[in-house]
Protein backbone atom coordinates (compact mmCIF):
# COMPACT_ATOMS: atom_id res chain seq x y z
CA UNK A 1 0.00 0.00 0.00
CA UNK A 2 1.11 3.53 -0.69
CA UNK A 3 2.84 5.09 2.30
CA UNK A 4 1.12 8.40 1.57
CA UNK A 5 -2.23 6.87 2.52
CA UNK A 6 -0.79 5.45 5.73
CA UNK A 7 0.59 8.84 6.69
CA UNK A 8 -2.60 10.73 5.85
CA UNK A 9 -4.79 8.25 7.67
CA UNK A 10 -2.84 8.90 10.84
CA UNK A 11 -2.63 12.65 10.38
CA UNK A 12 -4.18 14.44 7.41
CA UNK A 13 -2.74 17.70 8.62
CA UNK A 14 0.74 17.24 7.12
CA UNK A 15 1.64 19.43 4.17
CA UNK A 16 2.68 17.96 0.82
CA UNK A 17 6.20 19.26 1.51
CA UNK A 18 6.35 17.33 4.78
CA UNK A 19 4.93 14.17 3.24
CA UNK A 20 7.45 14.54 0.41
CA UNK A 21 10.31 14.56 2.91
CA UNK A 22 8.91 11.59 4.82
CA UNK A 23 8.55 9.45 1.73
CA UNK A 24 11.53 10.68 -0.26
CA UNK A 25 9.33 11.99 -3.09
CA UNK A 26 9.08 15.42 -4.66
CA UNK A 27 6.30 17.84 -3.78
CA UNK A 28 4.89 17.42 -7.29
CA UNK A 29 4.78 13.63 -7.00
CA UNK A 30 2.97 13.80 -3.67
CA UNK A 31 0.48 16.42 -4.89
CA UNK A 32 -0.24 14.38 -7.98
CA UNK A 33 -0.73 11.17 -6.00
CA UNK A 34 -3.08 12.83 -3.52
CA UNK A 35 -5.05 14.45 -6.34
CA UNK A 36 -5.52 11.06 -7.98
CA UNK A 37 -6.60 9.45 -4.71
CA UNK A 38 -9.15 12.22 -4.24
CA UNK A 39 -10.46 11.86 -7.78
CA UNK A 40 -10.80 8.10 -7.42
CA UNK A 41 -12.52 8.61 -4.06
CA UNK A 42 -9.80 6.52 -2.38
CA UNK A 43 -9.30 9.51 -0.15
CA UNK A 44 -12.98 10.10 0.54
CA UNK A 45 -12.61 13.06 2.90
CA UNK A 46 -10.59 14.70 5.65
CA UNK A 47 -11.74 15.22 9.20
CA UNK A 48 -10.47 15.87 12.70
CA UNK A 49 -10.96 13.33 15.46
CA UNK A 50 -12.64 15.31 18.23
CA UNK A 51 -13.04 14.17 21.78
CA UNK A 52 -16.52 15.63 22.21
CA UNK A 53 -16.76 14.32 25.76
CA UNK A 54 -14.19 16.96 26.73
CA UNK A 55 -16.28 19.78 25.29
CA UNK A 56 -19.57 21.25 26.44
CA UNK A 57 -21.42 19.78 23.48
CA UNK A 58 -24.33 17.58 24.53
CA UNK A 59 -24.78 14.59 22.27
CA UNK A 60 -25.59 10.93 22.39
CA UNK A 61 -24.32 8.16 20.22
CA UNK A 62 -26.16 4.91 19.65
CA UNK A 63 -25.35 1.68 17.89
CA UNK A 64 -28.43 0.09 16.33
CA UNK A 65 -28.57 -3.53 15.28
CA UNK A 66 -30.95 -3.81 12.34
CA UNK A 67 -32.38 -6.99 10.86
CA UNK A 68 -33.70 -6.67 7.34
CA UNK A 69 -35.09 -8.81 4.55
CA UNK A 70 -32.79 -8.71 1.54
CA UNK A 71 -34.41 -7.81 -1.76
CA UNK A 72 -34.12 -9.77 -4.95
CA UNK A 73 -31.47 -8.33 -7.27
CA UNK A 74 -30.06 -5.70 -4.93
CA UNK A 75 -29.61 -7.70 -1.73
CA UNK A 76 -29.20 -5.47 1.28
CA UNK A 77 -27.87 -2.46 -0.57
CA UNK A 78 -31.15 -0.76 -1.40
CA UNK A 79 -32.45 -0.90 2.15
CA UNK A 80 -29.09 0.19 3.50
CA UNK A 81 -29.11 3.15 1.16
CA UNK A 82 -32.50 4.34 2.38
CA UNK A 83 -31.08 4.22 5.89
CA UNK A 84 -27.61 5.69 5.46
CA UNK A 85 -28.86 8.72 3.57
CA UNK A 86 -30.32 10.17 6.79
CA UNK A 87 -27.82 12.73 8.12
CA UNK A 88 -28.32 11.39 11.65
CA UNK A 89 -26.60 8.17 10.52
CA UNK A 90 -22.86 8.58 11.10
CA UNK A 91 -21.83 5.10 9.98
CA UNK A 92 -23.52 2.12 8.45
CA UNK A 93 -22.01 -1.36 8.01
CA UNK A 94 -23.32 -4.63 6.57
CA UNK A 95 -22.59 -7.37 9.08
CA UNK A 96 -22.19 -11.12 9.24
CA UNK A 97 -23.81 -12.95 12.15
CA UNK A 98 -27.02 -12.43 14.09
CA UNK A 99 -28.16 -9.20 12.43
CA UNK A 100 -27.59 -7.42 9.16
CA UNK A 101 -26.75 -3.74 9.59
CA UNK A 102 -24.88 -1.80 12.24
CA UNK A 103 -26.16 1.76 12.15
CA UNK A 104 -24.44 4.39 14.25
CA UNK A 105 -26.60 7.37 15.04
CA UNK A 106 -25.84 10.65 16.71
CA UNK A 107 -28.43 12.91 18.27
CA UNK A 108 -28.72 15.64 20.87
CA UNK A 109 -30.69 13.60 23.39
CA UNK A 110 -31.64 9.99 24.05
CA UNK A 111 -35.19 10.91 23.16
CA UNK A 112 -34.16 12.31 19.81
CA UNK A 113 -32.28 9.12 18.91
CA UNK A 114 -35.11 6.92 20.16
CA UNK A 115 -37.63 8.86 18.09
CA UNK A 116 -35.44 8.62 15.01
CA UNK A 117 -35.25 4.85 15.40
CA UNK A 118 -38.98 4.55 16.00
CA UNK A 119 -40.12 6.94 13.30
CA UNK A 120 -37.54 6.59 10.55
CA UNK A 121 -35.67 3.34 10.96
CA UNK A 122 -38.01 0.71 12.39
CA UNK A 123 -40.81 1.67 10.03
CA UNK A 124 -38.80 1.15 6.86
CA UNK A 125 -40.15 -1.47 4.55
CA UNK A 126 -38.03 -4.70 4.81
CA UNK A 127 -36.75 -3.74 8.28
CA UNK A 128 -37.72 -6.61 10.54
CA UNK A 129 -36.43 -5.42 13.89
CA UNK A 130 -34.04 -3.01 15.60
CA UNK A 131 -32.10 -3.10 18.88
CA UNK A 132 -30.70 0.17 20.20
CA UNK A 133 -27.53 0.37 22.33
CA UNK A 134 -26.48 3.76 23.67
CA UNK A 135 -22.79 4.55 23.95
CA UNK A 136 -21.86 5.50 27.51
CA UNK A 137 -18.20 6.36 27.06
CA UNK A 138 -15.72 6.47 24.21
CA UNK A 139 -12.34 5.01 25.17
CA UNK A 140 -10.79 4.75 21.76
CA UNK A 141 -11.82 5.80 18.27
CA UNK A 142 -10.04 5.31 14.93
CA UNK A 143 -6.92 4.07 16.69
CA UNK A 144 -6.70 7.04 19.06
CA UNK A 145 -7.04 6.54 22.80
CA UNK A 146 -8.99 9.38 24.41
CA UNK A 147 -7.14 10.36 27.53
CA UNK A 148 -4.46 12.83 28.47
CA UNK A 149 -1.70 13.16 25.94
CA UNK A 150 1.18 10.82 26.77
CA UNK A 151 4.25 12.65 28.00
CA UNK A 152 7.81 11.83 27.12
CA UNK A 153 9.10 10.72 30.51
CA UNK A 154 12.29 9.00 29.35
CA UNK A 155 15.09 9.58 31.80
CA UNK A 156 18.70 10.37 31.07
CA UNK A 157 20.85 7.43 30.08
CA UNK A 158 24.22 7.49 28.42
CA UNK A 159 23.70 5.57 25.27
Amino acid sequence: MDEILEILEKNSNYTVEQIGKMTGRTVEEVSQAIKEYEEKNIIAGYSALINWDSTSKESVLALIEVKITPQRGVGFDKVAERIYKFPEVKSCYLMSGGFDLTVIIEGKTIKEVALFVAEKLAVQEYVLSTATHFVLKKYKDKGIIFKEKPEDDREVTFI
Binding site: N11, M22, P150, D152, V156, T157, I159
Partner: protein
Protein backbone atom coordinates in the same frame (compact mmCIF):
# COMPACT_ATOMS: atom_id res chain seq x y z
CA UNK B 1 42.90 6.95 54.32
CA UNK B 2 40.72 8.59 51.72
CA UNK B 3 37.88 6.49 50.35
CA UNK B 4 38.94 7.43 46.81
CA UNK B 5 42.17 5.56 47.38
CA UNK B 6 40.23 2.40 48.04
CA UNK B 7 38.87 2.47 44.51
CA UNK B 8 40.74 0.76 41.70
CA UNK B 9 42.71 3.10 39.48
CA UNK B 10 41.08 1.74 36.37
CA UNK B 11 37.70 2.82 37.81
CA UNK B 12 38.94 6.11 39.22
CA UNK B 13 40.48 6.97 35.87
CA UNK B 14 37.22 6.60 34.00
CA UNK B 15 36.14 10.15 33.13
CA UNK B 16 32.56 11.16 33.93
CA UNK B 17 30.21 11.37 30.98
CA UNK B 18 30.64 14.55 28.98
CA UNK B 19 27.01 14.82 28.00
CA UNK B 20 25.49 15.01 31.46
CA UNK B 21 25.63 18.83 31.38
CA UNK B 22 23.29 18.99 28.41
CA UNK B 23 20.68 16.93 30.14
CA UNK B 24 21.03 19.14 33.20
CA UNK B 25 20.52 22.21 31.01
CA UNK B 26 17.47 20.87 29.23
CA UNK B 27 15.86 19.78 32.48
CA UNK B 28 14.52 23.24 33.34
CA UNK B 29 13.70 24.35 29.81
CA UNK B 30 10.12 24.71 28.63
CA UNK B 31 9.35 23.82 25.07
CA UNK B 32 12.70 22.08 24.53
CA UNK B 33 12.99 19.18 22.10
CA UNK B 34 15.41 16.40 22.92
CA UNK B 35 16.91 14.47 20.05
CA UNK B 36 19.47 13.24 22.53
CA UNK B 37 18.09 10.09 24.07
CA UNK B 38 19.20 6.89 22.36
CA UNK B 39 16.15 4.78 23.03
CA UNK B 40 12.81 4.28 21.27
CA UNK B 41 10.10 6.83 22.03
CA UNK B 42 7.45 4.15 21.48
CA UNK B 43 5.94 2.36 24.43
CA UNK B 44 6.38 -1.44 24.27
CA UNK B 45 3.56 -2.89 22.09
CA UNK B 46 0.61 -3.88 24.25
CA UNK B 47 0.56 -7.59 23.37
CA UNK B 48 4.11 -7.82 24.74
CA UNK B 49 3.33 -5.83 27.89
CA UNK B 50 0.19 -7.90 28.42
CA UNK B 51 2.17 -11.15 28.18
CA UNK B 52 4.48 -9.84 30.91
CA UNK B 53 1.54 -8.93 33.13
CA UNK B 54 -0.08 -12.31 32.53
CA UNK B 55 3.11 -14.10 33.55
CA UNK B 56 3.00 -12.21 36.85
CA UNK B 57 -0.66 -13.09 37.36
CA UNK B 58 0.20 -16.73 36.76
CA UNK B 59 2.79 -16.52 39.50
CA UNK B 60 5.90 -16.74 37.32
CA UNK B 61 7.80 -14.67 39.83
CA UNK B 62 10.81 -16.93 40.39
CA UNK B 63 14.31 -17.18 38.97
CA UNK B 64 14.48 -18.74 35.54
CA UNK B 65 17.16 -21.17 34.37
CA UNK B 66 20.52 -19.34 34.44
CA UNK B 67 20.73 -19.22 30.68
CA UNK B 68 17.10 -18.11 30.35
CA UNK B 69 13.72 -19.79 29.82
CA UNK B 70 14.14 -22.63 27.32
CA UNK B 71 11.14 -21.53 25.26
CA UNK B 72 12.65 -18.06 24.89
CA UNK B 73 16.01 -19.50 23.83
CA UNK B 74 14.23 -21.65 21.24
CA UNK B 75 12.38 -18.60 19.89
CA UNK B 76 15.61 -16.60 19.77
CA UNK B 77 17.30 -19.33 17.72
CA UNK B 78 14.28 -19.60 15.42
CA UNK B 79 14.26 -15.87 14.78
CA UNK B 80 18.03 -15.63 14.19
CA UNK B 81 17.80 -18.49 11.73
CA UNK B 82 14.83 -17.00 9.88
CA UNK B 83 16.09 -13.41 9.79
CA UNK B 84 19.86 -13.71 9.41
CA UNK B 85 20.59 -17.33 8.54
CA UNK B 86 22.34 -17.91 11.88
CA UNK B 87 21.99 -21.35 13.39
CA UNK B 88 22.56 -21.88 17.10
CA UNK B 89 21.67 -24.65 19.49
CA UNK B 90 19.20 -23.23 22.02
CA UNK B 91 20.52 -25.47 24.75
CA UNK B 92 24.23 -24.82 24.48
CA UNK B 93 24.82 -21.70 22.45
CA UNK B 94 22.57 -18.99 23.92
CA UNK B 95 22.52 -16.97 27.14
CA UNK B 96 19.70 -14.55 27.88
CA UNK B 97 21.25 -11.48 29.50
CA UNK B 98 20.26 -8.28 31.26
CA UNK B 99 20.22 -6.18 28.11
CA UNK B 100 22.83 -6.38 25.39
CA UNK B 101 25.05 -4.48 27.83
CA UNK B 102 25.50 -7.44 30.13
CA UNK B 103 26.47 -9.48 27.09
CA UNK B 104 29.23 -7.01 26.25
CA UNK B 105 30.44 -7.01 29.85
CA UNK B 106 30.54 -10.76 30.44
CA UNK B 107 32.04 -11.43 27.02
CA UNK B 108 34.91 -9.07 27.72
CA UNK B 109 35.36 -10.33 31.26
CA UNK B 110 35.53 -13.91 30.01
CA UNK B 111 38.01 -13.09 27.26
CA UNK B 112 40.41 -10.31 28.17
CA UNK B 113 42.55 -8.99 31.00
CA UNK B 114 45.74 -7.00 31.56
CA UNK B 115 48.09 -7.33 28.58
CA UNK B 116 45.33 -7.97 26.06
CA UNK B 117 44.03 -5.53 23.49
CA UNK B 118 40.45 -4.98 22.39
CA UNK B 119 39.95 -3.27 19.06
CA UNK B 120 37.12 -0.76 19.23
CA UNK B 121 36.04 1.15 16.12
CA UNK B 122 34.87 4.63 17.04
CA UNK B 123 32.63 6.60 17.08
CA UNK B 124 30.60 3.98 18.93
CA UNK B 125 28.62 3.09 22.01
CA UNK B 126 30.53 4.27 25.08
CA UNK B 127 30.25 1.00 26.99
CA UNK B 128 32.83 -0.86 24.88
CA UNK B 129 35.66 1.32 26.09
CA UNK B 130 34.38 1.37 29.65
CA UNK B 131 33.86 -2.37 29.96
CA UNK B 132 37.28 -3.00 28.38
CA UNK B 133 38.98 -0.66 30.84
CA UNK B 134 37.35 -2.39 33.81
CA UNK B 135 38.92 -5.70 32.79
CA UNK B 136 42.40 -4.15 32.79
CA UNK B 137 42.78 -4.79 29.06
CA UNK B 138 43.75 -2.02 26.68
CA UNK B 139 41.28 -0.44 24.27
CA UNK B 140 42.85 -0.05 20.85
CA UNK B 141 40.76 2.56 19.06
CA UNK B 142 40.14 2.64 15.32
CA UNK B 143 39.12 6.09 14.16
CA UNK B 144 36.48 5.52 11.52
CA UNK B 145 36.25 8.16 8.82
CA UNK B 146 33.44 10.21 7.35
CA UNK B 147 34.76 9.54 3.82
CA UNK B 148 34.18 5.81 4.43
CA UNK B 149 30.70 6.61 5.77
CA UNK B 150 32.05 5.48 9.15
CA UNK B 151 32.34 1.86 8.02
CA UNK B 152 35.14 -0.40 9.18
CA UNK B 153 37.58 -0.83 6.29
CA UNK B 154 40.13 -3.66 5.93
CA UNK B 155 42.96 -1.14 5.89
CA UNK B 156 41.97 0.49 9.18
CA UNK B 157 41.50 -2.91 10.81
CA UNK B 158 44.85 -4.27 9.65
CA UNK B 159 46.65 -1.21 10.95
CA UNK B 160 45.15 -1.75 14.41
CA UNK B 161 45.99 -5.45 14.77
CA UNK B 162 48.88 -6.41 17.04
CA UNK B 163 50.08 -9.66 18.57
CA UNK B 164 48.13 -8.72 21.70
CA UNK B 165 44.79 -8.29 19.93
CA UNK B 166 42.32 -10.67 21.54
CA UNK B 167 38.93 -9.22 20.64
CA UNK B 168 37.57 -7.07 17.81
CA UNK B 169 34.26 -5.31 18.36
CA UNK B 170 32.04 -4.95 15.30
CA UNK B 171 29.35 -2.40 16.20
CA UNK B 172 26.92 -2.27 13.25
CA UNK B 173 24.27 -0.94 12.67
CA UNK B 174 26.13 1.75 14.53
CA UNK B 175 25.30 4.06 17.39
CA UNK B 176 25.95 7.06 16.88
CA UNK B 177 26.51 7.17 13.09
CA UNK B 178 23.71 4.97 11.73
CA UNK B 179 26.28 3.25 9.49
CA UNK B 180 25.78 -0.36 8.43
CA UNK B 181 28.10 -2.96 6.90
CA UNK B 182 27.03 -4.85 3.77
CA UNK B 183 27.86 -8.49 3.10
CA UNK B 184 30.68 -7.51 0.71
CA UNK B 185 32.20 -5.13 3.22
CA UNK B 186 32.00 -7.70 6.00
CA UNK B 187 33.55 -10.40 3.83
CA UNK B 188 36.75 -8.35 3.60
CA UNK B 189 36.84 -8.09 7.39
CA UNK B 190 36.26 -11.84 7.62
CA UNK B 191 39.20 -12.47 5.27
CA UNK B 192 41.50 -10.65 7.66
CA UNK B 193 40.22 -12.18 10.88
CA UNK B 194 39.51 -15.78 9.88
CA UNK B 195 43.06 -17.04 10.24
CA UNK B 196 43.82 -15.35 13.55
CA UNK B 197 43.23 -16.18 17.20
CA UNK B 198 40.84 -13.33 17.69
CA UNK B 199 37.28 -13.33 18.94
CA UNK B 200 34.77 -11.11 17.16
CA UNK B 201 32.24 -9.38 19.37
CA UNK B 202 29.45 -8.39 17.03
CA UNK B 203 26.98 -6.01 18.65
CA UNK B 204 23.85 -6.29 16.54
CA UNK B 205 21.35 -4.66 18.88
CA UNK B 206 20.02 -2.44 16.05
CA UNK B 207 19.79 -5.29 13.53
CA UNK B 208 16.03 -4.95 13.03
CA UNK B 209 16.34 -1.24 12.35
CA UNK B 210 17.75 -1.06 8.85
CA UNK B 211 16.34 0.88 5.93
CA UNK B 212 16.75 -0.71 2.55
CA UNK B 213 19.34 -3.42 3.03
CA UNK B 214 18.56 -6.24 5.41
CA UNK B 215 21.08 -6.61 8.22
CA UNK B 216 23.92 -9.06 7.65
CA UNK B 217 25.57 -10.71 10.64
CA UNK B 218 29.29 -11.40 10.47
CA UNK B 219 28.54 -14.72 12.19
CA UNK B 220 26.76 -15.84 9.01
CA UNK B 221 30.22 -16.34 7.45
CA UNK B 222 31.05 -19.97 8.29
CA UNK B 223 34.80 -19.17 8.51
CA UNK B 224 34.28 -17.05 11.63
CA UNK B 225 31.03 -18.49 13.00
CA UNK B 226 32.72 -20.22 15.94
CA UNK B 227 34.88 -17.29 16.91
CA UNK B 228 32.08 -14.75 16.83
CA UNK B 229 29.83 -13.78 19.71
CA UNK B 230 26.60 -12.22 18.50
CA UNK B 231 25.03 -9.75 20.89
CA UNK B 232 21.43 -8.76 20.37
CA UNK B 233 18.32 -8.03 22.39
CA UNK B 234 14.83 -6.65 22.64
CA UNK B 235 15.43 -3.02 23.59
CA UNK B 236 15.60 -1.40 20.20
CA UNK B 237 13.51 -3.60 17.90
CA UNK B 238 10.59 -4.02 20.29
CA UNK B 239 10.93 -0.77 22.27
CA UNK B 240 11.72 -2.73 25.43
CA UNK B 241 14.66 -0.80 26.90
CA UNK B 242 13.29 -0.73 30.44
CA UNK B 243 12.70 -4.49 30.50
CA UNK B 244 16.47 -5.00 30.33
CA UNK B 245 16.66 -8.05 28.12
CA UNK B 246 19.24 -9.15 25.61
CA UNK B 247 21.12 -12.27 24.59
CA UNK B 248 24.45 -13.60 23.40
CA UNK B 249 24.94 -16.45 20.96
CA UNK B 250 28.13 -18.26 20.09
CA UNK B 251 30.12 -21.46 20.26
CA UNK B 252 29.41 -23.60 23.35
CA UNK B 253 32.93 -23.18 24.75
CA UNK B 254 32.68 -19.40 24.76
CA UNK B 255 29.09 -19.41 26.00
CA UNK B 256 29.96 -21.82 28.85
CA UNK B 257 32.70 -19.47 30.00
CA UNK B 258 30.34 -16.52 29.96
CA UNK B 259 27.67 -18.54 31.75
CA UNK B 260 30.02 -18.89 34.71
CA UNK B 261 30.21 -15.13 35.13
CA UNK B 262 26.52 -14.67 34.39
CA UNK B 263 25.38 -17.23 36.94
CA UNK B 264 27.48 -15.82 39.77
CA UNK B 265 27.03 -12.12 39.02
CA UNK B 266 23.48 -11.99 37.69
CA UNK B 267 21.84 -15.38 38.32
CA UNK B 268 19.33 -14.87 35.52
CA UNK B 269 17.68 -12.14 33.48
CA UNK B 270 14.32 -10.82 34.77
CA UNK B 271 11.72 -13.55 34.41
CA UNK B 272 8.81 -11.22 33.59
CA UNK B 273 10.80 -9.66 30.77
CA UNK B 274 11.60 -13.11 29.42
CA UNK B 275 7.92 -14.05 29.18
CA UNK B 276 7.20 -10.74 27.47
CA UNK B 277 10.05 -11.40 25.04
CA UNK B 278 8.59 -14.77 24.01
CA UNK B 279 5.47 -12.90 22.91
CA UNK B 280 7.63 -10.30 21.15
CA UNK B 281 9.35 -12.99 19.07
CA UNK B 282 6.16 -14.92 18.35
CA UNK B 283 3.82 -12.04 17.54
CA UNK B 284 5.84 -8.86 17.28
CA UNK B 285 6.51 -8.68 13.57
CA UNK B 286 3.74 -6.19 12.72
CA UNK B 287 4.77 -3.84 15.50
CA UNK B 288 8.40 -3.94 14.39
CA UNK B 289 7.30 -3.17 10.85
CA UNK B 290 5.17 -0.22 11.97
CA UNK B 291 7.90 1.23 14.17
CA UNK B 292 10.63 0.87 11.55
CA UNK B 293 8.36 2.44 8.90
CA UNK B 294 7.86 5.43 11.18
CA UNK B 295 11.60 5.65 11.96
CA UNK B 296 12.31 5.54 8.25
CA UNK B 297 10.01 8.51 7.57
CA UNK B 298 11.65 10.53 10.31
CA UNK B 299 15.08 9.56 8.99
CA UNK B 300 14.21 10.80 5.52
CA UNK B 301 12.88 14.08 6.92
CA UNK B 302 16.09 14.71 8.86
CA UNK B 303 18.51 13.72 6.11
CA UNK B 304 16.75 15.82 3.47
CA UNK B 305 16.45 18.77 5.87
CA UNK B 306 20.18 18.68 6.69
CA UNK B 307 21.04 18.55 3.01
CA UNK B 308 18.85 21.59 2.41
CA UNK B 309 20.62 23.40 5.24
CA UNK B 310 23.99 22.63 3.69
CA UNK B 311 25.16 20.24 6.43
CA UNK B 312 27.15 17.37 4.96
CA UNK B 313 25.55 14.11 5.92
CA UNK B 314 25.94 10.59 4.52
CA UNK B 315 22.78 8.54 4.35
CA UNK B 316 22.54 6.45 7.51
CA UNK B 317 20.91 3.11 6.74
CA UNK B 318 20.55 1.70 10.23
CA UNK B 319 19.67 2.31 13.89
CA UNK B 320 17.90 5.61 14.64
CA UNK B 321 20.71 8.11 14.36
CA UNK B 322 21.84 10.69 11.85
CA UNK B 323 25.43 11.95 12.15
CA UNK B 324 25.84 15.22 10.22
CA UNK B 325 29.12 17.08 9.90
CA UNK B 326 28.89 20.53 11.46
CA UNK B 327 32.39 21.75 10.59
CA UNK B 328 30.99 24.22 8.02
CA UNK B 329 29.44 26.21 10.86
CA UNK B 330 32.88 27.01 12.23
CA UNK B 331 31.88 25.61 15.61
CA UNK B 332 33.22 22.51 17.31
CA UNK B 333 30.80 19.79 18.41
CA UNK B 334 30.47 21.01 21.98
CA UNK B 335 29.96 24.64 20.99
CA UNK B 336 27.39 23.64 18.40
CA UNK B 337 25.37 21.58 20.87
CA UNK B 338 25.52 24.13 23.66
CA UNK B 339 24.57 27.06 21.43
CA UNK B 340 21.81 25.13 19.70
CA UNK B 341 20.34 24.15 23.04
CA UNK B 342 20.53 27.67 24.46
CA UNK B 343 19.27 29.47 21.36
CA UNK B 344 16.77 27.07 19.89
CA UNK B 345 16.13 24.61 22.70
CA UNK B 346 17.00 21.54 20.65
CA UNK B 347 19.28 18.92 22.17
CA UNK B 348 21.63 16.89 20.00
CA UNK B 349 24.74 15.14 21.29
CA UNK B 350 28.31 16.10 20.35
CA UNK B 351 29.90 13.44 18.19
CA UNK B 352 33.08 13.39 20.28
CA UNK B 353 31.08 11.90 23.18
CA UNK B 354 31.40 8.65 21.19
CA UNK B 355 35.13 8.91 20.49
CA UNK B 356 37.56 11.64 19.55
CA UNK B 357 37.06 11.11 15.84
CA UNK B 358 33.44 12.16 16.29
CA UNK B 359 34.63 15.74 16.71
CA UNK B 360 33.07 17.96 14.07
CA UNK B 361 29.88 15.86 14.04
CA UNK B 362 26.73 15.65 16.13
CA UNK B 363 24.41 12.75 16.83
CA UNK B 364 20.77 13.42 16.07
CA UNK B 365 18.48 10.73 17.37
CA UNK B 366 15.15 10.33 15.61
CA UNK B 367 13.41 8.38 18.31
CA UNK B 368 11.15 11.35 18.91
CA UNK B 369 7.72 12.11 17.47
CA UNK B 370 7.36 13.32 13.87
CA UNK B 371 5.96 16.63 15.11
CA UNK B 372 9.03 17.12 17.29
CA UNK B 373 11.30 16.28 14.41
CA UNK B 374 9.59 18.63 11.97
CA UNK B 375 9.73 21.44 14.53
CA UNK B 376 13.36 20.76 15.46
CA UNK B 377 14.40 20.91 11.80
CA UNK B 378 12.87 24.40 11.52
CA UNK B 379 14.79 25.43 14.63
CA UNK B 380 18.10 23.95 13.50
CA UNK B 381 17.77 25.59 10.10
CA UNK B 382 17.15 28.97 11.78
CA UNK B 383 20.18 28.37 14.02
CA UNK B 384 22.47 27.54 11.12
CA UNK B 385 21.34 30.54 9.06
CA UNK B 386 22.01 32.80 11.99
CA UNK B 387 25.50 31.34 12.54
CA UNK B 388 26.53 31.51 8.92
CA UNK B 389 25.36 35.09 8.53
Amino acid sequence: MKLEDMILNRVNNMPPSGIRKYFDMIYDMDDAISLGIGEPDFVTPWNIVEAGIYSLEKGHTHYSANAGIAELRKEICKSLSKNYGLNYDYNEEVIVTVGGSEGIDIALRALVGPGDEVIIPEPSFVAYKGCTAFTGAKAKIINLRAEDEFKLTPKLLEAALTSRTKVVIIPFPNNPTGAIMTREELSKIVDILKGRDIIILSDEIYSELTYGNKHVSIASFPEVRDKTLVINGFSKAYAMTGWRLGYVCGNKILIDAMKKIHQYAIMCAPTTAQYAAIEALKNGETSVYEMTSEYNRRRRVIVSSFKKMGLECFEPLGAFYVFPCIKSTGLNSDEFCEKLLKQEKVLVIPGNAFGECGEGFVRVCYSSSMDNILESMIRIERFIKQIKR
